[in-house]
Amino acid sequence: MKFRLGTLLTVFVTLLFGYALFEARDFPTQAQIYAVTVAGTGFIFGIITLVIELRAKTTWVGQEGLLDLAPDRSTPPAVVYMRALRVLGWILGLYLCIWILGFKIAIFLFFLLFLKLEGRAGWLLTGILTAIAAYLMVFQFEQRLSIFWPEGLIERYFELPGFL
């Protein structure tokens, strides 16, 4: 019996179905039927899949019959997960900035920092790309399409200039 990283995903999904089944016990009958059917079926599939995966001699990771985009296998897994954590860090940092500073200021900062630190772009290119993003935000999205932004804490408690 071999435990692989992919098995964790199967365990997680199976537990998700199990929890959904548990929650559904309090639903009224009509609301329960669908939830129990789907969660119960998914739970059974999960158990079967777990057994198959734990007993399998090889890990199936090719694209054969998958009909989804294939993940890149040229980079070692450890490197992939480290870089993935880094990307997640950037997105979480962006979210934190949006929450505190508001979307426009956060995106402006994100562009500056990301292009300089990750893209290793020069100041001129960084400035140009950030300016393009600012133009799109203010003149196209806000004024033409009336797009709504996530508001930040700073916008709630302080009076900011109109373009911000």
Binding site: L9, F17, A31, G62, A84, A121
Partner: protein, 498 residues
């Protein structure tokens, strides 16, 4: 009928009305390219402006926008693997790998011409079916609609080929996520954990962007290279356009499929493109190349998702039942303009019906030309370092997701689904079944309850139900058998230690 058609065409070609239609096309072009901003956003933006407007001009403008989003949404799907709208997700499977091989131009050529033909075919189907639309729609009831939902889910289960258990689990996850929020019968809140955000369920746009857009951007940043691994833009648009005519049977079949799907209220573009993709895979003898950049995998969904607009107009015009999300807003436009959908649209106001048909047809042609002009400069982006344009995509994805409910929950759900989608992709779990399960789950439950409430257990013996059921079983058995004999996709299984 010919008189009304001619009259509508003459009115549409009036410079003012034609200009407004072009304005709708231009707006739709931008909306389709921006991930998450579905055509419904654009249509909603136009609604305030049509008060007091000439009826034909207003309808032309609205249809111009609705028609093109299904064409322009291909651009981000092919270039970045990010769906422009939920109707372009299936196009990513082969369109994006084509861009990676340096064939973005060919993918665009095939997609735009297929879209145009699909759109024209949808308009044609709409015209021809006007006399017979009413009895057909009346013949289908909740039991038949439920079985059609099962067909959609079953088709996608077959698509997963040698990973049927993972595909089935993914579909079940989608069905479960569709249960979040109010149940269709009693309105009882399920799996909401008293969070107001979840009272309305997870928005479809957030689901599509989270599952497909964020993982692709993340993977590109992880790899750290350009999208196109070939330092040229590929064989070009003409080759792609020729591909559409080479595979004319696929184009016409999938256009017909899309028009039929559009005809069924509620199923929409996100189902049409998957069913068309599934159909072309199942019916192709040589299927090893699907998922690795096969142009047929672009032609099929693109033809279908444009054709569905014509099909969706049928129940909208005849019954006032919106055939898709776009049609909800077209219906709102009807009310604003004082138009009553129903029999008079096929009799005394046939000229308005033909205005819609002509607008759909002409806008598809204009859209194709506009997309051809834009896509070559945009295709250059595939050779630019991903760190330079990834921030733009992230910005658009986050913005697009936030427009769903304008609640922080959209962003949190986007991140959670993005993480889950990335892990699924990494562990070779197919994502399409999840999305299809999510889309069809609510409809399936609603139709099931209505069937039981209206007919008890008798509904399982209805001829339409039995016919569709037999078709599902035969498709599943044959599809799984073919998958085992001749798998889809190019790469052999590999053993990897992780």
């Amino acid at each position: 009928m010919l008189d009304a058609a001619g009259q509508a065409l003459v009115m549409l070609l009036d410079p003012f009305r034609f200009g407004l239609m072009c304005l709708g096309v231009a707006m739709g072009l931008v909306i389709g390219i921006l991930p998450g901003l579905a055509g419904m956003v654009g249509l909603a933006l136009l609604l305030p402006f049509i008060y007091g407007m000439d009826v034909h001009a207003a309808l032309a403008m609205m249809m111009g926008l609705a028609a093109i989003t299904c064409t322009s949404d291909t651009i981000p799907a092919v270039l970045f693997g990010v769906p422009g709208t939920t109707s372009s997700v299936a196009t990513i499977l082969d369109g994006y790998p084509m861009a990676k091989k340096g064939e973005a131009g060919r993918a665009f050529g095939a997609a735009f011409i297929a879209s145009m033909i699909g759109g024209l075919f949808g308009a044609l189907i709409l015209t021809l079916s006007l006399p017979i639309a009413r009895p057909i729609v009346l013949a289908c009831g909740s039991p038949e609609f439920f079985m059609l939902c099962m067909l959609g889910i079953g088709m996608v289960a077959v698509l997963t080929g040698r990973r049927p258990m993972q595909g089935a689990m993914a579909a079940a996850v989608g069905l479960l996520l569709a249960a979040i929020g109010p149940g269709p019968t009693q309105g009882y809140m399920r799996y909401t954990f008293d969070l107001i955000y979840l009272f309305g369920g997870i928005p479809l746009v957030v689901m599509a962007l989270g599952l497909f857009a964020l993982p692709e951007v993340a993977d590109l940043l992880i790899r750290g290279t350009t999208i196109s691994e070939v330092p040229r833009l590929g064989k070009g648009f003409i080759e792609g356009a020729k591909d559409v005519f080479r595979h004319w049977a696929i184009t016409l079949r999938c256009s017909a499929l899309g028009a039929y799907i559009g005809f069924i209220p509620g199923l929409g573009g996100s189902v049409a493109n998957w069913l068309a993709y599934g159909h072309v895979v199942q019916t192709s003898r040589d299927r090893e190349s699907f998922g690795t950049g096969d142009v047929r995998g672009v032609i099929a969904p693109e033809a279908a998702n444009n054709a569905k607009e014509g099909g969706a107009l049928i129940p909208t015009i005849v019954f006032g039942i919106p055939g898709s999300g776009h049609m909800v807003l077209i219906l709102a436009a009807f009310l604003i303009l004082g138009i009553n959908p129903g029999p008079e649209m096929l009799t005394t106001r046939l000229d308005l019906t033909f205005t819609l048909i002509w607008s759909l047809a002409i806008a598809n042609v204009l859209a194709t030309g506009a997309c051809f002009l834009l896509s070559r400069p945009l295709a250059q982006l595939t050779t630019v370092r991903v760190q330079y344009w990834a921030p733009f995509i992230l910005m658009l994805v986050i913005l697009g997701a936030f427009q769903s409910t304008r609640h922080w929950g959209d962003l949190i759900a986007l991140l959670g689904l993005g993480l889950f989608g990335w892990l699924m992709k990494r562990q070779a779990w197919p994502r399409p079944p999840l999305l299809v399960g999510f889309v069809l789950g609510k409809y399936a439950e609603r139709y099931l309850y209505r069937s039981i409430a209206s007919y008890g257990a008798e509904w399982v013996t209805f001829p339409g139900v039995i016919g569709i059921g037999v078709f599902i079983i035969v498709s599943l058995v044959m599809g799984l058998r073919w998958q085992r004999q001749k798998p889809v996709g190019a790469q052999a299984p590999q053993e990897v230690e992780e």
